[in-house]
Symmetry: C2
Subunit: 271 residues, 2 copies
DNA sequence: GCATTGTGGTGCGTGATACGCAACTGGAGA
DNA sequence: TCTCCAGTTGCGTATCACGCACCACAATGC
């Protein structure tokens, strides 16, 4: 066949196409059979059978009787199972909850997803003011403490990708200069934690530390965040110590036996 | 047409199998190629190619180099797009936020997902104590105000399914008697709202009202919830009015022009 | 240490199957 | 009413996904 479209997915053709349908729907929100067919480069009937199969599994949902298609609740069911099964979340939740109770602030767990931070779980603190819930959100890497931690430990090259375009400015304290960001990331690796004060939102401060997997690579970031007036500059180092300790404990639960670089010996998890 | 009514997945076979893989992983958490092949009733190589295709789209993730498979972050990406695109969430968020500000309590939007309530979105209230975030959670129908609303307006037969087994008890005020639950659901249809006081968790009170779609059926439930001492019995009717008004506004945004069909039980064909 | 058993992973030929075609249906404008 | 364009569906055929056989590697047993 002549115009072979760059076989991005590889593997089983029809499955590949079906998953592409999901991605297209994620991007465009709502598409008709003909539009999908055009995007995939297949006949309308083929596209129809793909969405019909997806619909049988509740992964897409049709508007009205002969309407267009959009993503369905089956996706949400899968997502619930995904976060519940992810090691980081499973191991991180009890530790994170304790940390939230200790510092009295909201605790988040985030992972690196492409060029953004993906927030997986959130544990509410005890204090009055609570941040908006971030679970499932994806936020730029340069404006949050979690993002800085993840970017600081990301595979080489990611930094260049992120800083290739312009860095979005959220407040007047957002770091938008690539050189300054690089310096800060160096400091993050050095100290073992990152901070973000009024950088994503005025009045919001956060501290984050890396969580290591069994292979020693950073798999997630753990943060505590709250209003800047409660997380004042002089309190940050102390909070950072608590966050780092919690992050190390999660790491050890994930099978990380690496060196205790930050002066904290992780408790060993049997099994 | 017609001979194959039973084909569970129907449609494209390989896609059907791939989606079954996702469901199996959701249920079991972690499976190897051979286990998947056994579950699907196909050859190992076939199962392998399916997961490989899924992996190319980040929907599954392999543990280690030759390890087992589990659901991947691609699912979370899709889920983010799903909730963002769902009509109920899109139309409900502004209204829900305003409601949260008005009553000062946490507002949730939930839909009926099989025999559970699926919480789609949450808008934080202004008050001190904030409930834990429920977005993405799935909770039993008989113990929350949202669940009661959804169950009260669910297709006939759902009630029997839910009450077929034993109803889980969460607190000593949880309704675990099917007959009493049925009475309460009748009242919910009558009044147009549901309440749950200390039924899921001691100290937690909620009020919920139905959201109607363009076709007049209940598509979601809107609730306000907070600590019982703030949502005392004498305040509940007033809060319920606010919640119902907000629910009606969302309904009208969804194209619902009818009047609330409170007390309508017409769809019943009991035999 | 070597065989054994099991796993994930891979070329290859072939027949089931998923595809494109074309005709159908039903709603929306003109 | 006609036309147009969308989502569907029956059908024959060539494609492509399947099972087979086999490989590489790890973890067992002896």
């Amino acid at each position: 066949m002549g115009n072979e479209v760059e076989r991005e997915g590889g593997g089983v053709q029809s499955v590949d196409r079906a998953l592409s349908v999901l991605k297209l729907l994620a991007r465009h929100g709502e598409l008709g059979v003909s539009e999908l067919a055009a995007e995939l480069g297949v006949h309308r009937s083929t596209a129809f059978r793909l969405v019909a199969t997806l619909e049988n599994h509740d992964l897409v949902h049709q508007n009205g009787d002969r309407g267009r298609y959009r993503l369905g609740v089956g996706v949400l069911r899968l997502a619930g199972a995904t976060t519940a099964r992810l090691d980081v979340v499973q191991e991180g939740r009890p530790v994170g909850s304790r940390l939230a109770a200790e510092v009295g602030e909201t605790v988040n767990i985030a992972i690196l997803d492409r060029d953004e931070a993906l927030y997986l779980d959130q544990m509410a603190g005890t204090s009055a003011l609570q941040a908006h819930n971030w679970t499932g959100r994806r936020i730029a890497l340069h404006a949050t403490s979690n993002g800085k931690v993840l970017l600081a430990h990301a595979p080489e090259g990611r930094f260049e990708e992120v800083t290739a375009g312009r860095l979005a400015r959220y407040t007047d304290r957002t770091v938008t200069d690539a050189a300054r960001l690089r310096e800060e990331l160096d400091a993050v690796r050095e100290r073992g934690y990152a901070t973000a004060v009024d950088e994503l939102e005025v009045g919001l401060t956060a501290v984050a530390a890396p969580v290591f997997g069994a292979d020693g690579r950073v798999v997630a970031s753990l943060s505590a965040s709250g209003p800047t007036f409660r997380l004042a500059a002089e309190r940050l180092p102390a909070v950072a110590d608590q966050v780092m300790a919690a992050a190390v404990e999660i790491s050890s639960r994930l099978g990380w036996y690496g060196r205790a670089r930050f002066g904290q010996q992780g408790k060993r998890d049997k099994s």
